[in-house]
């Protein structure tokens, strides 16, 4: 119990010190009175008795001090008085305080915001049980220029039975499905998974159970496991949901489970899960699943990759499909990548660049604050020396400095966290959609710990700074030199100049970086994407399920009907649809054999991208038809063996697009020949920075490229494109929905976007980096200019007398002004040389983010150097003009 009374006592002493003091005084006064009375009783005269009592007691002030020491709160009182004094001194100097706090807030806020992104995406472990043992499985076929391909089901079976390096293995793929009879018909993201995947990630269902092996066999109705969010939003969190069903693609499906909240499978967030159905007869040769596995103890990703790749011959034997020697020709292999690396991908690069940028800004902010502190220390040198002479201990003075810098640091830190909170919101809004794990980004404990660390480091460093500077200065000198230039201040000036040079240099680095990103951005805008005025094109997906249109022809007719209705809407100039519109990220690929150019055995045959399109598609995008004719609906209706090819494909075989028309190709030797009826301009479907692929476009309905002979295939899920010259394409949406509903009320529109937004998303990585670098460079420029201005102004103030004398000796005011300007110019030049070297070394890190510009682009470097020089000279011009305007007599009489 002792510690309780102890604590209670200290709390009272801390929070009601006045009462404690009053009690103590009264107690001691009582003591003196009693002592005096006793002495008088003993016969001492009253006058002497008072003196004697006082002597017996000792100095009351000192006794009180000793009693207070016994309260055990001495340090709190000191802290309080230090803090009070700090507040007082900061109030006397509000400019210093506010500039310091603001500068630190900017620096700390920026780094905190970016660190939280970095932490959420790169540093945090994945939210699964024992995530370090998880790997993603992919194939690689360098022989045909495919660095990375999805996992094949036949290989999955082989690994499941025979791989020793894997403890468990699961498959998944993302799909979209139409759900009806729940509310409005809707198209939702779902995921096909094996039951093993749920187990190996360590996910235990919130309600119900996972998938069993039988449910992965073809035949029985496919059960569904709802995500927590979908269960809450569509089933109102119904606890009896396991007795209900859900209609998916028109098929009644039993609900067997609900996932726990916040489950994401490799960064996607499906509405529900359905079991994977593997065709038992499917051989090696199709690659269409994502694989996730848990390594067996003792295996690393690379040793597992080696073992899995060695199982390829066995897979070919067990599940015949593509011949083993064909796989060998492709350089076929299997790669196990740590799951986190797979999820994060190459975003790390951008994030580290941005983080480095912001860290530079923090550094800049700190040099500025350091400069302010130095100025202040110099201003206070006499004051401090006086206090030391009066007996303040060096330790106490140091503690006061530390209190002050910590207080400023904490204020800056608080401002920084507030700024980070706001900045993060902005950041997440402009962040590229390709950034993974964004849901895990926030101001969480590690982030706050980070900013606390930065804050304390800043506070402590600046607390020590005056100590270091003051270090050698002897007491008497400081008192004598009257605060004017002494021997030590030359050293100090040098430090200040150095800081200003560093600031200019850092500003140049950041300006060069953002200059390069601006050039990249402009270069990207220059690249023709293959379509015109994308802001006018509204796009969305519609899928026609088998329950609405049983045959391929029915489905195509349904699409045709909808397209016809949309074309009639007022203001619409063209409509079309395609399996995959530019830059959506999916592309089915296949080898082709061109009639005139037989493929010789063993020679690489590049994969071509396939797409299925409606008539009017190219007209809608305004992609030019270079030769031949576009499709008409008869091509699809009659299953004609025709194709339109892209310019890149045509140029690979013939000199002009015209020559390609009428030529024939096929997919393999058993296939029908397909005639090229048209050639269209290239569309940069892989993003503007990538070369356009060779593309083969087919009508919506055709004899299947894969599958049994005579089987007719159509793509039921199409992206519609509608061009309208109206002000904003999205204004059309209500009329579009109405038109679709009139054709068939059970068809939901999904993933509504303008073509422009798809384009913007494809260059969002550049825009994001550019924005971040731009903001950083702007802040850096301001801080750098403030730094130079401060140093030059100080120089002018310090050398007023000297300048006055020069003026008196006949220098013109122009000469004096020029002298100041030269000092500024020297700083700027030194900073620019240093910054140029730094920038040349650092912009190399940007190389992968740049496009159409070299990291040492002379134009950019010249431009930013010139503008920085101009700004710095301007910053020193103002003090120079002040120097030139000095009044002679006033200056000399001044001090």
């Amino acid at each position: 119990m002792r510690w309780i009374s102890n604590l209670w006592f200290r709390l009272r002493a801390t929070f009601s010190p006045r009462r404690m003091e009053r009690d103590m005084e009264e107690e001691m006064a009582f003591h003196m009175e009693m002592e005096m009375k006793k002495l008088v009783r003993d016969g001492v005269p009253p006058g002497r008795a008072r003196r004697e009592a006082l002597r017996n007691f000792g100095d009351p002030l000192r006794q009180k001090e000793r009693a207070r020491d016994a309260w055990g709160i001495r340090w709190i009182q000191d802290l309080r008085s230090d803090t009070r004094q700090t507040f007082r001194s900061l109030r006397r100097n509000p400019g210093f305080a506010s500039v310091t706090i603001l500068t630190l807030s900017l620096g700390i806020g920026g780094t905190t915001a970016i660190f939280s992104v970095l932490n959420g995406i790169l540093l945090k472990p994945l939210p699964y049980q024992d995530p370090d043992g998880l790997v993603a499985l992919t194939h690689t076929m360098p022989g045909i220029d495919v660095p990375k391909a999805p996992l094949g089901p036949a290989l999955f079976r082989t690994y499941r039975e025979h791989a020793r390096s894997l403890q468990a293995i699961g498959l998944w793929r993302a799909l979209t499905r139409t759900v009806t009879e729940l509310a409005e018909p809707e198209r939702v993201e779902v995921m096909e998974v094996t039951g093993s995947l749920i187990d190996l990630l360590g996910i235990s269902p919130f309600l119900g159970r996972g998938f069993t092996a039988e449910e992965e066999e073809p035949g029985s109705p496919r059960p569904v496991i709802l995500s927590y969010g979908y269960w809450r939003s569509r089933f109102g969190g119904d606890p009896d949901v396991l007795e209900r069903t859900i209609r998916v693609e028109g098929v009644e499906s039993p609900i067997i489970g609900v996932l726990p909240p916040n489950v994401r499978i490799q960064d996607s967030d499906p509405s529900f899960l359905v079991p994977v159905r593997l065709d038992p007869d499917q051989g090696v040769g199709s690659w269409n699943f994502e694989g996730i596995a848990r390594l067996a103890p003792g295996f690393s990703p690379s040793s597992a990759s080696a073992e899995l790749s060695a199982l390829t011959p066995l897979a070919c034997e067990l599940y015949p499909g593509i011949a083993l020697d064909e796989l060998e020709r492709r350089g076929f292999g299997t790669v196990a990548t740590p799951l986190k690396a797979e999820v994060v991908g190459d975003t790390g690069k951008v994030l580290w660049v941005v983080f480095g940028t912001v860290a530079l800004v923090l550094l800049l902010a700190c040099t500025n604050v350091a400069n302010l502190f130095l100025l202040k220390t110099d201003g206070l040198a006499r004051d401090v020396a006086l206090r030391r002479a009066l007996g303040a201990s060096r330790e106490r003075l140091f503690r006061q400095n530390l209190t002050e810098s910590l207080l400023l640091g904490v204020a800056g830190g608080l401002g920084g966290v507030a700024l980070a909170w706001g900045g993060l919101r902005l950041l997440l809004r402009i962040a590229p959609p390709s950034l993974p794990r964004l849901v895990e980004v926030g101001l969480d404990a590690p982030t706050l710990l980070f900013s606390l660390g930065v804050t304390l480091a800043v506070g402590v460093v600046f607390g020590f700074l005056p100590e270091l500077r003051r270090g050698g200065a002897p007491l008497v000198d400081s008192l004598n030199d009257g605060g004017r230039a002494g021997s030590t201040s030359r050293v100090r000036n040098r430090v200040r100049n150095l800081l200003a040079v560093v600031q200019v240099a850092l500003a140049l680095v950041l300006l060069a970086g953002s200059g390069l990103m601006i050039r990249t951005f402009l270069a990207l805008r220059e690249v023709p994407p293959g379509y015109e005025r994308p802001a006018e094109v509204l796009t969305f997906r519609i899928s026609i399920p088998g329950t609405e249109a049983p045959t391929a022809d029915d489905a195509a007719r349904a699409h045709q009907e909808i397209l016809g209705r949309l074309a009639g809407l007022p203001g619409v100039t063209a409509v079309g649809a395609a399996y995959s519109v530019a830059m959506e990220g999916w592309e089915p690929v296949e080898n082709v054999i061109v009639e005139e150019f037989p493929v010789t055995e063993g020679e690489p045959n590049p994969l071509r991208v396939l797409d299925w399109i409606s008539p009017g598609y190219f007209h809608t995008l305004q992609t030019p038809l270079l030769a031949g004719r576009p499709f008409d609906w008869a091509d699809a209706r009659e299953h004609r063996h025709v194709a339109i090819v892209s310019e890149t494909f045509a140029k690979g075989f013939w000199l002009t697009p015209q020559e390609a028309v009428g030529k024939r190709f096929r997919m393999d030797n058993a296939d029908e020949w397909k005639e090229i009826v048209g050639v269209v301009g290239d569309i940069r479907s892989r993003g503007v920075t990538e070369e356009p692929p060779g593309v083969l476009y087919f009508p919506l309905v055709m004899e299947a490229l894969w599958g049994p002979p005579g089987y007719v295939h159509t793509e039921r899920d199409l992206r519609y494109t509608i061009r309208s010259a109206r002000h904003r394409a999205t204004d059309l949406l209500p009329e579009v929905r109405q038109a679709v509903r009139e054709v068939n009320p059970r068809l939901p529109l999904s993933s509504v976007q303008t073509l422009d937004a798809i384009f913007a998303a494809s260059i969002s990585r550049t825009t994001f980096t550019l924005t971040m670098l731009g903001i950083a460079a702007g802040v850096a420029l301001v801080l750098g200019v403030v730094g130079v201005y401060g140093v030059i102004s100080y120089l002018v103030a310090q050398r007023r007398r000297e300048m006055g004398i020069r003026l008196a000796l006949g220098s013109t005011s122009g000469q004096v002004g020029a002298m100041v300007l030269r000092a500024g110019g020297r700083l700027a030049l030194a900073g620019i040389v240093l910054g140029g070297l730094l920038a040349a070394a650092l912009t190399r890190l940007l190389t992968t983010l740049l496009f159409g510009v070299s990291p040492l682009d002379p134009l950019t470097f010249a431009g930013v150097t010139a503008s920085l020089l101009a700004v710095v000279l301007l910053a020193s011009y103002l003090p120079a003009r002040r120097a030139a305007g000095l009044n002679l007599t006033e200056t000399l009489r001044g001090d």
Binding site: N6, E26, F30, H31, E35, F57, Q63, R66, A67, G72
Partner: protein
């Protein structure tokens, strides 16, 4: 001030205060008077450090204080022993006994 009185042995003041308070609650001046009287002026309490000691003992929870009016109608702060204080007094007394007899044995050597 006349004869040199021996200094209070370090750390014994706390024990003496506890002892005096174990007899009856007392104010600061009373405690110093009692110590001097009982020791027949052999022990001189440094009156100032008395209060540092009293505040420290209060903080430790061995004594507590309250305000009361004296016989002479003066308000004074009285200190009284707590249960923890009694236990502490026992410990210190025992310790003192051991120390004192050890010193006495050595001094008794002829």
């Amino acid at each position: 001030m006349g004869t040199q009185k021996p200094d209070m042995i370090k750390g014994t003041l706390d024990m003496l205060i506890l002892k005096i308070l174990s007899l009856e609650p007392m104010h600061g001046w009373g405690i110093s008077e009692q110590i001097q009287q009982i020791s027949r002026e052999a022990l001189q309490v440094n009156q100032g450090s008395l209060y540092a000691s009293l505040h420290k003992l209060t903080r430790e929870g061995w004594i507590r204080s309250y305000w009361e009016v004296t016989e002479n109608n003066r308000r004074a702060r009285y200190y009284t022993l707590t249960r923890a204080g009694e236990k502490q007094l026992g410990l210190e007394a025992e310790h003192w006994d051991r120390l004192a007899s050890a010193v006495a044995r050595i001094m008794a050597l002829s």
